[in-house]
Amino acid sequence: MAADMAELRCPMCGKANPEELDVCQFCQARLKPVLPSAPIPEDEQAAVEGSSRLPEPAAQDDSLSDWLNFLRDSGAESEGPPAESGGEDQPPPAGELPQWLERTGGEASEPVGEGDSQDWLDSLRKRGEEITGPLGQETVPEESMDEDWPASVKLPDQDYVPEWLAGASLGDQAGEPLAEPPSEEESSLESDDEPDWLQKIRLRQRDETEESQSVESAPAEEPGMPDWLGEPASGVPAAPDEPAESVSDWLADLRSGGAPVGEEVELPEAPATGEELPAAEQELEQPLEETPAPPPEILEEAAAPVLGAAEEIPTAPQISDEEIPDWLAGLVAGKAAAAAAGSVEADAESLPDWLADLDKPSDADSGVIVPFGEEEPGLTFDWLQEQVRADQGLAVPPPESSEAEEVQAEKITPFVGDLSDFLEEEYLSTPEGERPPAAQPEEGLTPAELPNWLEAMRPLDAAAMSAAVLDEGESQIESSGPLAGLRGILPAEPDVARLKKPPTYAMRLQVSESQQANANLLDELVKTEGQPRAVRMGAAITSQHVWRLIIFVVLIGVIIWKALTGSQEVALPQPLPEILDTGSVIGALPSNSVVLLAVDYEPGFSGEMKATSAAVIDHLMLKGAYFALVSTSPAGVGLAEQLIQDASALGGHQYQVIDRYANLGYIPGGPMGVVGFANAPRKMTPFALDVDSTAVWSREPLQRVTRLADFDLVAVLTEDADTARVWIEQVQPALDSTPLVMLLSAQAEPMVRPYYQSSSNQVQGMVAGLLGGGSYESAHQDLLAGDGPARRYWDAFSLSMLAAVILIALGGLVSLLTQALASRDTSEGEKKS
């Protein structure tokens, strides 16, 4: 005890501090009330041990009652309060109130009647004037509060009745209304009488209508001070007699259900969540808006011990599920809700207003605001709130339900052994619809002025109503902690550190429609890129194939037909001038002339070239010419050899190599080779391509040939106009008077004709194509016995040429018709559209 007296336990954080300190060295909360007040008895210190959530009395506020001071001071004691305060917690003798409760008020309680609630409220208010320090000066972190929450609270004996409840019960038994607010001594918690504040509440309730002016003036005396605390004019309203017996019963049940005397009960830590609490407590943690008003029975039962139930006042400890009396469990289940509603109505008339208003849903019950010190909904001060509002003539705000749910799990009972627990249960068990409506403020009542600390204790809805008078800086309402519901509280931690639900950001990317369209397009492209496309196989037979087949069949059919029939019905063409000139040139050659024959056509044109040159070669053979065969293409060597042999065989000539002709071979270098041959034929082709590689230049008749001009005739056989031009342009200057005759394919004739027709007369004769060959055969009927290759090919050639012309014309006509039809369809489609 002496040790406890040397240290003060902080009411906020519960830590021990030296006595000489006025402010807690841990949380800077006031340890001693600002106003001079009676020292808190030791027996009350133990009773309020662990109530570290008690608001620190304002340093300048003297409106706190002694009992509150006692409660705070008892919280500063060390942990062995049960030993020190054992005397306090020792159950007082029967019929006597606990000391701590007696100190709250000495007047006996009286049955509560109308206006009695006002009396004890007034008494409380006056006591509050004596208590310094507004509430909510500093919010002790919940953690520290939780940590310092007394691990063990010594429960009183079964017969133990808290003094505050004992004082009230005595007052009730006395049946006297609460007297004037007792003096400091009378209101001391060490008084054995009924707590003054209760008496005053009763008196106030009774004189509510009579003292409306005093209620209005009450705020002038102590701003912000609730009437029930600042003006304990009336005593604590007494509980009705009828409920007293039942109250006693439940109190007795509570005691019986409670722990044995002296047994330390491990109180749980400050309930952080509702799961840790007993079922009864959990129900009490309902949001404010859901907190039902305690039924009248509970109110009566609550009032009974308050007003004077002598013997049995429960301490209302943390009761486990197994310890909950049946009646309490039934109340929790809402069994008596309907009965309570009826009984409320029946007893409403007899109950004081404050009790009658208890079953009405209060703003705090359903409101957003969480009352001070309690994260559990529906605690005691609802009825006080209503009364205050009624006094102040303020409308009851509609219940709010938002924040109450958040703080449900963290509600903390402000007082150990709070009488309001059973009130909460009853109220919560009552369905919301059956709860009596909130009390409307009465007209003509002056709103009470609450002290700051009490103002902070007001429910949030009440605080919201007075938000107009609040500064903007005080608009923020504390939602958790012992200062929940209070405004203008400096946050213990910066906003950024507060635990709150992190903002959720929309995961949807903000894109415009065009961007989305482009993204979709890109997505389709990427998807299709990996998808194998079926290769569309074309038709096996297309129009190309059909056309080609038709052309082939027609042409080959005509040729085969004529070849098989061997018809020669088509007359050969009349000789052309170039044909005649060629014949003249050859006719003018001397016998045993030496003719240079340049075979420069490709093997593929050998058929045409054979037909073109057969008559000319035969004519030269008839003249006894000696052929010197050369070629500027590698294949010309074989072609030249074959040409002579075929012509010899065809014309019946016996042309043997070396004797009648010499194959001088291939002249490389193209035009340069021709120029070189023209300049030095012996040098370019020194040997013949026979097996012996005979040096024909040393033999007759080539022995006399030293240059191209020594040849009697130069005949060039080619299908290529460029080759012909090379021979003409490169060789002809070196020929002097030697004639140059061109034996050409039909495709080269146009390019060579100018050389023939020019005045320079670079080409003396020209036979071109099958037409030229046929014309030459026609002009020289004696050649090849009139049956040269041109004659044989002429019929097939002419008929196939006609067929080709017809096919080409037909194809062109079909193309034109197709184009016309397509354009007409297109134009019609455009017209329709």
Binding site: E602, G670, D720, M751
Partner: protein, 255 residues
């Protein structure tokens, strides 16, 4: 030496012709350097060629350039040079294709030169490792065998476009017909009249006359190519005027 005879000889006239043409090319190249855009007559064939190169690269197909069978030692070599220029340009543009371009020819010298051109192009762009000797191949030593030898390249090697640039004969129709059968683009140009007449009927994009010799200018082979084309135009007008004047003089008996 009679310098007057020398100056009045045909050789001197020809030499002057060449020298004037040479300086005209240089002058026009210097004047055209300041131009940002070279205004040339639009030739649709070259426009499609550029697009065909891009499509071939995108489709992962091959470009086929066939250079004909004209040797480098005669007049046919000029068209072969143009073909090699086209080959170099296509090889440069289509080097990133999965299937690099391939060149076929019908003459040994052209085969070697085509390999050399492709190799040099890849080296110049730092892709020497991409060079494959099969990029330049001789498919035949005669015109027809060469044309027939080029057909498997068109049918079997995923050719998307065939460019005929060189000396051809009528056998060029075999190549263009194969290109049409395979559904690929055929762009054909030759210095041969016969080949041009065949290409007009069988090729999708024929190059008439000396349009083949303007290929270098249209495929951005360099400023000299553009200036040489302009010089050709100048000299063409000179020749036209000379022919007309000569014809008139001949008619008047002055010549």
């Amino acid at each position: 030496m009679n310098y007057m005879d020398l100056l009045t000889s045909q050789g001197a006239v020809g030499m002057a012709f060449v020298v004037i043409f040479f300086f005209l090319v240089i002058i026009l190249a210097a004047a055209g350097r300041s131009r940002s855009v070279q205004n040339l007559r639009e030739i649709q064939a070259f426009a499609k060629l550029g697009r065909a190169i891009g499509l071939a690269v995108e489709a992962g197909k091959r470009m086929h350039i066939t250079l004909g069978w004209g040797g480098m030692i005669d007049l046919r070599g000029s068209s072969a040079l143009v073909g090699l220029t086209v080959l170099e340009r296509i090889a440069r543009l289509a080097s990133i294709s999965d299937r690099p371009p391939v060149a076929t020819s019908g003459e040994g010298v052209l085969g070697v030169l085509s390999q050399d051109t492709v190799s040099g192009t890849y080296k110049s762009i730092g892709a020497g490792f991409q060079y494959n000797p099969a990029a330049g191949r001789v498919t035949g030593l005669s015109p027809l065998s060469y044309a027939v030898g080029a057909l498997p390249v068109i049918y079997d090697e995923h050719v998307s476009a065939t460019v005929l640039a060189g000396h051809f004969g009528s056998e060029g129709a075999l190549i263009t017909d194969a290109a049409e059968r395979s559904g690929s683009l055929s762009l054909a140009g030759s210095d041969s009249i016969t080949a041009q007449s065949v290409f007009v009927a069988s090729a999708q994009e024929p190059l008439i006359g000396e349009e083949l010799y303007a290929a270098g200018a249209y495929i951005n082979s360099g400023l000299i190519h553009v200036s040489s084309v302009r010089a050709q135009d100048v000299f063409r007008w000179v020749l036209i005027i000379a022919i007309l004047v000569g014809a008139v003089m001949k008619m008047l008996g002055l010549l």
